[in-house]
Assembly symmetry: D2
Homo-oligomer: 452 residues x 4
Amino acid sequence: MKEKCAVFGFQSDTDVFETIYYGLHAMQHRGQESAGIATCNDKIRIHKGMGLVSEVFRNAYLSGNCGIGHVRYSTTGDSKSENAQPLLINYLKGVFAIAHNGNIVNQEGLKKMIEEMGGTFTTTTDTELIAHLIAQEHLKTGDFIKAVQATMKQLVGSYSLAILYDGMVIGVRDPSGVRPLCIGRKGEHHYLASESCALDTVGAELLRDVKPGEIVVFGDQMKSYSGPKGRLCHCMFEYVYFARADSVIDGRPIYKVRRDLGRILARESPVEADIVCAVPDSGITHAIGYANGSGIPYSEAFMKNRYVGRTFILPDQKQRELGVRVKMNPIRSEVEGKRIVLLDDSIVRGTTLKKIIESLRKSGAKEVHVRIASPPIRNPCLYGIDMQTSGEFIASEKSVEEIGKTIGADTLAYLSVDGLVEAIGHSRGDLCLACLTGEYPLENPQRKLVDE
Amino acid sequence: MKEKCAVFGFQSDTDVFETIYYGLHAMQHRGQESAGIATCNDKIRIHKGMGLVSEVFRNAYLSGNCGIGHVRYSTTGDSKSENAQPLLINYLKGVFAIAHNGNIVNQEGLKKMIEEMGGTFTTTTDTELIAHLIAQEHLKTGDFIKAVQATMKQLVGSYSLAILYDGMVIGVRDPSGVRPLCIGRKGEHHYLASESCALDTVGAELLRDVKPGEIVVFGDQMKSYSGPKGRLCHCMFEYVYFARADSVIDGRPIYKVRRDLGRILARESPVEADIVCAVPDSGITHAIGYANGSGIPYSEAFMKNRYVGRTFILPDQKQRELGVRVKMNPIRSEVEGKRIVLLDDSIVRGTTLKKIIESLRKSGAKEVHVRIASPPIRNPCLYGIDMQTSGEFIASEKSVEEIGKTIGADTLAYLSVDGLVEAIGHSRGDLCLACLTGEYPLENPQRKLVDE
Amino acid sequence: MKEKCAVFGFQSDTDVFETIYYGLHAMQHRGQESAGIATCNDKIRIHKGMGLVSEVFRNAYLSGNCGIGHVRYSTTGDSKSENAQPLLINYLKGVFAIAHNGNIVNQEGLKKMIEEMGGTFTTTTDTELIAHLIAQEHLKTGDFIKAVQATMKQLVGSYSLAILYDGMVIGVRDPSGVRPLCIGRKGEHHYLASESCALDTVGAELLRDVKPGEIVVFGDQMKSYSGPKGRLCHCMFEYVYFARADSVIDGRPIYKVRRDLGRILARESPVEADIVCAVPDSGITHAIGYANGSGIPYSEAFMKNRYVGRTFILPDQKQRELGVRVKMNPIRSEVEGKRIVLLDDSIVRGTTLKKIIESLRKSGAKEVHVRIASPPIRNPCLYGIDMQTSGEFIASEKSVEEIGKTIGADTLAYLSVDGLVEAIGHSRGDLCLACLTGEYPLENPQRKLVDE
Amino acid sequence: MKEKCAVFGFQSDTDVFETIYYGLHAMQHRGQESAGIATCNDKIRIHKGMGLVSEVFRNAYLSGNCGIGHVRYSTTGDSKSENAQPLLINYLKGVFAIAHNGNIVNQEGLKKMIEEMGGTFTTTTDTELIAHLIAQEHLKTGDFIKAVQATMKQLVGSYSLAILYDGMVIGVRDPSGVRPLCIGRKGEHHYLASESCALDTVGAELLRDVKPGEIVVFGDQMKSYSGPKGRLCHCMFEYVYFARADSVIDGRPIYKVRRDLGRILARESPVEADIVCAVPDSGITHAIGYANGSGIPYSEAFMKNRYVGRTFILPDQKQRELGVRVKMNPIRSEVEGKRIVLLDDSIVRGTTLKKIIESLRKSGAKEVHVRIASPPIRNPCLYGIDMQTSGEFIASEKSVEEIGKTIGADTLAYLSVDGLVEAIGHSRGDLCLACLTGEYPLENPQRKLVDE
């Protein structure tokens, strides 16, 4: 599972490039395929490319006192440099740059509408679709903000947008607030960021979240406009896995939520054991929470090789033979003869987890009790997370008991939906739980998976 | 001065990728900024990027039995990966890929027309404009070829297009035949190429040029459609400098034309001298022609360092100090005490030529007589060659005598326009001589320089 | 502080290259400057270069049924590719390859002795010195193992050697056992590794440590020879910091030692606080131990950006301004209003620690009590760890109280030497504590710092 | 056939790095495998690596007022970074750096002698052998120059050395003057270079060649010492092929020699033909000479693709299919219906030449008469050129007539040895013609091929 993107914006009275650079770098976990920055003084300058922020901007600099940036997720397929964002849109009223995190579920209908009027698309992004709508509405209404508002009325799905137009940074969040988007401030200047950790990194203070359905405009001062209303559907997986633990989203600190997920899971599914440990790094905070909740001591059962990274490519055959050992090795002295509670945030196929449990047993673990800090995922995400088709989820094919047997656990338990909602701290109706329950809150009868 | 682009197309019954790769590589001199290939079986696959053909396609392969390719010229400014071609265009009727060599002079008006209908542009290429027009006309007429014909009627300027649509390779040449485009054949299969040297390289035979205003379609067999008529305006600089010497364009072998340019120049502007030599590599063929025409022996006066290439970047200060010596060094034994005729194809600013003449004198040359195998360039090209503004041409500011003094030549002579026309062998009225005469044959009152 | 090196060796009846590759990769933490592998069938093949294992061997493969490998630490100065190991030594009796982890303290005298006989050195490594001695002794004694024994008698200092000679892998450990070296086994085949984590990674079992002063030879079966005797001096810093937590050195599991360091520190220097947290990643295990010992809950106070790596270079000015925030960000929800115990393994200059404490306070920490899980380091290492001169240690200039004030801690406490010894579990006399006490156990009056 | 190396040296009162850099770059044709520079102020600094000068020194700089440099030829086998030069030699008297062009034919005996005294070698270069001898002799004699003289007495073979010792640049040339070495001057400063083209490039004047058997020392002023005497054996292939055409070696301008080779060949082996052309680039100057001598016009029959370079790797299969066409394409208009004289400098296997002749015939050539501007090569070089074993030369297996048939020429003729000697202009006894005649002038009964 991969997050699709992050956006960042900054309006200042000096060059903004470096700040945007560091802001994007702080959100690199939300996308490693491509990165891009657009800045503006008299004209819009843009630089983007395939790779990490540090790679794309190795020798680049853009002057300009306002700007936006974007990182995009990594795919295994062909690199598609034309899909890198921000997109630069030339149209009758001039030019704007736009960057997007989310997924538009009614994009097919809207694209067809535009194509019927003779429109063309040079990328396969829904960002170009949004840009097209804004441009058309701008011609109609003559006002950019009204054009954004009119566009929002047509869009169904999730979107957190950063737009650079006419020397202004504009932030837009969909009426359901599916993806995060927040506002930072230092002195008189404002920042836009998908996650508050980016604000911390650049030394800004988290002012507030962009409200669902709100349009914010940074200029001499910040202005707020309201778009259409909708029911709230905050993505529960931002809390469980995607967001960085030091971010605060819609008023809820991610770290605290994750520890509470573990704590509540300890209450729901207790087990007698000697140590609580985690699949590194995804399960660590949940494991600490479980340890706190259960009174069983927390321990690190695995050592990760911190040099397994982008430069390290395992030949396929060797990978099968060596298994996960190259990446993480059980610490025998911690594991041998112990009854272990093993925490992770979720299970997709269970293949890696199975190997991890095998390696624990090979290192002498007596029992391995797996606890998953979220309910079983059974359905794909339509709102901006790159999940595979339903068939890819082990939980859509097997019962919890069968899964436990498959991965070789002594016992397996998932967190309940109620436990999840309690830990997140929003009311259940304000969350998108579609991947757990199959109830898709944003209307689109036709279930289309995210495009690649 | 830099050529803008080259296109290549190939229709076969096996994979076409490698053939297109080598075809583009043979035309690398027409563009080093970016390269791209699109192929098609059931769907269109595309790969493109910044750099040379060999760099962009280091680890790439695309399956498909028909396809087109493109190389683009190198700029010094920001890399603009979104301008790499072919462009992939999604529209109501489906999808096509398009690659373009040329320049549309009425692009501003046409872009405005499209923008007024709500259209947007995500690149700064006129290729996207052409694509837009074709898409719109396709919606209107319901037939792709008719759409291309209707588009041609709207375009003013130069264009040689390769289009990949619905399993067909389509070649289009503007009614004036400004840029070259030719058809090759091997067995039953057809090839499209900007220059015939690409056909030689892939083992195909030059069948004929695409006629000015013609549309050719490669499918089971080749079909030809006619577009609008126009006066012929073959670019004279393809013959003098841009095309590879082993190409044949519109029936005229480039090598022979260049040698004749030198031979006629010897007749027009003779001089007593001991040797004829060339600014390497641009003046070599002209110098051999001048030597043949004058009876003065040809000699290589310079040795080039063949390792001065892409990997070699001279620090600025050192470059001023060392001058051109790092790149080419006079051969003293050839030069010392000699009266020299030095041939080159053209003069833009004269800065390098001045240094070359200095280095000849420093190596003991007694006299240096410069002969330029084309008339003085005084005006920018509007039809697809990247020249600077008029102010950049030394010949638009100074007389021939003054130029000779500036560069430090004992005498300086240019070829006459009549001599040029004689060597090329087309009638004068069929050539574009705008950069020499200022008479722009393709109507567009408003002189806009090529976009960057 | 940087570890100097790691060695690996493997004897098999099929190609050993991949196993050595993964063995080195598992010990990449011991050296990132260069990597090298030598293998042998009929002749010795070698490949080495600057960079990580994955970079140096990207397209390399060496056939051969026995071989050795080496990784070397990273310096900031000039890259010295000629210092990469293994070294290949040609001499009268043939050829051998040698790789070394350690530091010879009497190298100046020995080098002079060899130079006086006309010897020359082409590298600045003490590895070449050891090789020279072995070669000379081999000429004298006529037997390779006797030559190694004779060489060991001359060497003062630390050395763990892997040698490839005549189809055999030979392991050598200095009589004091300063640096680790252990033997692994799978089936009939033997492995040599600086750390047992490398054995786990390649699926081998830890058989035992190479004994101090022992020579082991892998051939059809493993043979053991004894070299000179000496007092034991196991490096205490391997336990505290250098070795990977999943390694077992001289019978002591590193992870357990580290947790005990924290646990004993909690007993020695308790403090009333709300949470125990760590400087990531170096202090995590110590912090968990302190939490267990004190009963105060463990928490992660920081989020690290896992994309700060080799590709990310901070411009100097920006780095000063942004401080450590780009690399790690306090989690406000965990820190705000809390009394914090902050654990780390050691303090060199204290500069980073100061910034980390500042960032905690800025995020609302009420108190910050620093606990260091080892005694103050005041003296440089002469036995193979790249420490700076004494002047570089804050503890050699300031009292503990002054250090606490300098770094901005509410309280600061170090572990006692007794506590350290208790946690490691060897008798005090068997440990090298020179960097703490200034008592250098291996005789060399003249204190020479490690060569670069 | 590949030249082994080039050396450069420079003594100044400001930093010498850039001058050495450009000097090496001008001699890049003599070696593309590795490059290195050593400079000296108080201490010797060195930087070297695999690749072209521009690649190895991309981000490198070395301060120091005197220094030496080296480029080394490219092999197809394993990269051996430890063989890059200059070598840095530490010994009892201090340290020196040394760079070498040539080959020592009695190296085995000398190496054995040193090894018997306990010496070891860490590289496979004969440069390390020479360094070893100098170091030993220095211990004996107490004087560096005397040590060099004593070393020269022991060496049999070819060597042009650049040595950096004690703030001095020292140049050494073997008594036979096999490889070139010359001295340049600008103002008060002196330069050492394998070829004079490097002096031109850095703006220095060619003062004279280093005399065979001479030692020159650059310090406050230049001093000359004499080493042992020997018979002259200038390598004839420097004139025919290896040296850059703008160099002057032992008083003879290379360009003039090459043109004369062609001119004399026209006299020796005339033929009726329409044009004279060359295999590019190696035969161009010879062809111009043949054209001058015969009165038949010179023409360029081929167009080279100037982008076939280091970044372009042809897949093997495609290479067979496309033949040489990707690299060079006949210009049909020049070739069709013509009787052609095709010049090249030499034939090794004849494989490429065969394909070139085929491509000429395919482009319509009526007759192809091949003329080779040197006598047949039948024997390997022992003195510093990387030729294969005798079996690799077509001329050691076949008669001239058979070779002509094999390559598909209408007629084939080689230059005579007398013609070669006449063109070079040294007396026959002063030339090394071993590869032509099999008479090896430098005594070493045992024919060992150049080491790899």
